[in-house]
Symmetry: C2
Subunit: 209 residues, 2 copies
DNA sequence: TAGATTGTTAATCGATTAACAATC
DNA sequence: TAGATTGTTAATCGATTAACAATC
């Protein structure tokens, strides 16, 4: 693998993984770039280019071995390892995430949940304890957790992020509607539902005129 | 407004809206491109370029009027109108979306919820009736709904999308892990939690080595 | 006026796409 | 072998960034 994979390519790799995995599940042994492109509505040339950044190669006249590619990407994306995470802000969204079955398949494990509501603290959700936010840094550090999920209101998110990072988190999944300030080694994926909704809204708005 | 606003710019407009809105709420009357850039970690030149696509302009030596820009973007993004939506697949995620307060502020209203579980059908969630999926096309049409939200498993998503579109939906918010095939006039926003998680996962994986 | 900040033009950068040699 | 499909080189396209004239 060359080191400089373009970010747009990196963002598409999970998509390819999904298709290869599905093909394997359906007993399809090989898939060429044209077939894959048809499924994902992308030019085949983009797929070949993207996959050429990887160590694993296709075979001329045949295409890509679905099982090989699926397991290579699984490894590349780190999906087969157990990954420990904590979540801060136990609301409806948190409940949905914790019970999302796809995540368990990808090795995501919740080690602790944090909240500042005394009524929630001490209880459990899906077998995971709810703990006061004051303990974030300490507990993250003790558990060696690398992934933090923020589902708090916007006002609390930056402070929460700071504490997660202080505890050793290097990847943050941010559901709060705010742009977080983080050091360079920390990777943030923003999941901004309100902003995505604004895009939908704009499309409907445009269509009215 | 020129017609050809680049897609990356369109995707950033909701971000600008959010900052202008927050500034207004904090009593800040003007903001220049450098300040805005600092808040969003973007070059000021990108912000000026993006905003130059809009009809509303900034003022030299002053910057942008926050109230003007917020309300212009609110209008442009269609956030002030009531927008009717239906949702298909009443699980945990659906519950989280329906109770997400941000959406109500943006004018999102749920008119109907669809599911195929007999235990759910007939009951209500947040005051909205749960109806059999067989009635999607008919009900969407009767209610003139333009936005459909899909929170079903992957297997059902394409069929659901087809029915939503048949009923008149032109904007789909897809939470199912599948690439939907839709006609050109239909706009799809994919919210792929598993794929975004894979990005986080990859970052943690990389850091291990 | 001098200085600051815009909007825009031009330069750069990077990603996508087309074309094709390699090869199984 | 002939044909199909890859991986890669080169061309194109589009977005970002730098530079700066306009102007308040």
């Amino acid at each position: 693998m060359k080191s400089g994979i373009p970010i747009p390519t990196l963002n598409r790799l999970p998509l390819y993984y999904r298709e290869f995995r599905r093909a394997v599940d359906n007993g399809i042994e090989t898939m060429n770039s044209k077939e894959l492109g048809a499924r994902l509505f992308m030019p085949d040339t983009q797929i070949r280019k993207d996959l050429s950044y990887l160590d694993e190669q296709g075979r001329q006249r045949v295409g890509y071995d679905t099982r090989t590619m699926a397991s290579y990407l699984e490894d590349f994306l780190g999906l087969m390892d157990e990954k420990q995470a904590v979540l801060v802000g136990v609301g409806n969204l948190a409940r949905a995430l914790i019970s999302y079955p796809e995540f368990r398949r990808y090795g995501l494990q919740f080690r602790a949940l944090f909240d500042n509501d005394p009524d929630k603290i001490g209880s459990e959700l899906a077998g995971v304890k709810i703990v006061p936010v004051e303990r974030i840094e300490n507990l993250v550090q003790r558990l060696s957790v690398r992934i933090g999920i923020i589902t708090t209101p916007a006002e609390a998110a930056q402070m929460v992020a700071d504490q997660l990072i202080a505890g050793g988190v290097i990847a943050i999944w941010n559901f709060a509607p705010i742009t977080l300030k983080v050091p360079a080694h920390v990777y943030v994926v923003n999941e901004n539902l309100a902003i995505d909704f604004a895009k939908l809204s704009h499309h409907v708005q445009k269509a009215k005129v």
